[in-house]
Symmetry: C2
Subunit: 335 residues, 2 copies
């Protein structure tokens, strides 16, 4: 990661304050989730546990919980809605795992290799159904509108991403629209729901903005890490995006700056999907050559700053501070 | 189809009266559907048109429309909800088309061969998102509950079906639960919505029952036709279920009545999925031997009769007559 060494490392950031504030509610969220899958047929139960109980950061439901807290909410509604948010996220993960036959023929490792395509899509549908049942039980048409709009936008973003696959000449604008739709919208909705349950309409738009920007930053850094992260420390498989021919900002930047031979490399590896063992290292070196990772992180920093600004006028509280910690943590993930 | 020749052919049945009553509203349903996909990115538009505009019978949205009419409803709400029902159905079709890598390796023809697995699942998600947006725009929590419950039950039914795949010793009870969940629930919800928009709570349960029973009959006959229908006349590919190792009532009946060699045949073809070109004809002959198709049609007739009974106390009207025609039509499909 020599290219990022020129950037100043942000101050040490942690989510400790966040989790201290929402720990109890997050346990309640987990209970709602597990309650809804525990008596299910084994395949549903197994997959749901595999994904949900695998100990992710629960950042999306935590955003709903902390946003509600930041709005002074003291009731119980945010728990079920946070669970709905996590169900939608998990369903998206499962559906994103579905792979095409053409790619399997190329011997690509699949994220759904334990359960198979069909189980991934059907259990994803089941979890999505649970999300909507939770929202209907909550009974607020406003929440329902926020999350059903989010579900539609996410699906559209995923289709858009599918259409850019293997197209390294995709525009930055197009890429930003994809990550805004497939990722940032759910962060935004998660935050906005906090204001909705608290019945603080005056906070809806700034929390939504905060969510959009933190979501953009989050995805940009994810996309940077895929070409730079150390597998053990970050729990993410470096090179997944490359193997799948996914077009992310680092690729777009390296491709557009590249010469004819380099563009031929990207076309062969990402469009034709003809990849040799050493190709990932070549991809990384091309990105270093053009500072593509550093520029991606710069853009993430830009969105982090916008997220901070979105909360500028928001009343001071420990919850607000914890939300600003999320921004710092997100920025620090890049280093 | 010699085995069914012993059954009396039902009187000529047609859906003419139904479509005469709901034709205008069905055009409105199509417009709502096409409006929601026409300006979409090409892949969504293409797939949605491919499925939605392919000229199916639109039986599910027609059930919502005719049920509303039978309840004396004269407003506009049933159109958007009927479109939501069709969107849910279409999303289910797309997701049902997703195939597993293991099956592709066996060279199985796939229904999603034009667009691929991933497009099927993501565009299905998009259509599901449209369904929920339509329901939220309608603004009735009662409708939302009916359809979100249906979506969750359908997903569960699809998972249950997946788990019975290649298991010819599946019980009849288990099979009935699968078809009730994956098929009949949406027919039931489609009908119940008619009473909801008409604000006739006294008709909700009988319309729901009617829908359940007609849905059960519909699926049973579909499953019978898969082993008996003439491809050209019915527009359905005979043998699909067999190729996919799907366990339907005709299989369960032929398997349980079969001797050791015959059970070995079913295990090889459906569990191991080792199928030779002549195997489908053997499967059909084993079904003839045990009257498995005739028994399946008998059970469908039984549900048709229950559907008729569900409407027994319902006020007379041309709409009610048209609903009874649907039952006759459903029964006549078997011949």
């Amino acid at each position: 990661m020599s290219q990022t060494a020129t950037l100043e490392k942000p101050k040490a950031a942690s989510l400790d304050a966040l989790y201290a504030l929402v720990r109890d509610d997050l346990v309640r969220v987990d209970n709602v989730i597990l309650e809804r899958v525990k008596n299910e047929i084994p395949l549903i139960h197994d997959i749901a546990r595999h994904i949900i109980a695998s100990g992710g950061k629960r950042i999306r439901p935590a955003l709903t919980l902390i946003s509600a807290l930041a709005c002074g909410y003291e009731g119980p509604r945010h728990v079920a809605l946070a669970a709905a948010v996590e169900f939608i996220h998990t369903a998206t993960l499962l559906h994103d795992d579905v792979v095409d036959e053409s790619k399997l023929r190329r011997g690509l490792a699949t994220a759904n290799e334990i359960f198979g395509n069909k189980a991934s899509v059907l259990v994803g549908d089941f979890l999505l159904g649970q999300a909507f049942q939770l929202m209907v039980a909550d009974g607020s048409l406003k929440s329902l509108k926020i999350l059903s709009d989010a579900a539609a936008v996410i699906a559209k973003g995923e289709v858009m991403q599918l259409m850019t696959e293997g197209e390294p000449e995709t525009s930055i604008e197009n890429y930003l629209q994809v990550i805004s739709s497939k990722t940032a919208i759910l962060f935004a909705s998660a935050c906005e729901l906090g204001a909705v349950v608290a019945e603080k309409p005056e906070h809806e738009s700034c929390l939504r903005e905060f969510g959009i920007y933190i979501g953009m930053a989050f995805q940009l850094i994810d996309d940077a890490l895929d070409y730079s992260a150390d597998r053990e420390t970050l729990g993410k498989n470096t090179g997944d995006d490359f193997q799948e021919g996914k077009i992310t900002l680092p690729v777009i930047l390296a491709y557009s700056a590249g010469d004819e031979d380099e563009q031929a490399f990207w076309n062969r590896t990402l469009s034709e999907r003809e990849q040799l063992p050493k190709d990932f290292a070549i991809a990384q070196s091309l990105m270093r050559k053009y500072g593509a990772i550093a520029q991606t992180i710069d853009m993430a920093e830009h969105y982090c700053e916008k997220a901070r600004q979105a909360l500028a006028g928001f009343p001071q509280s420990p919850a607000r501070s914890a939300m600003l910690d999320i921004v710092d943590f997100c920025a620090a993930r890049a280093y």
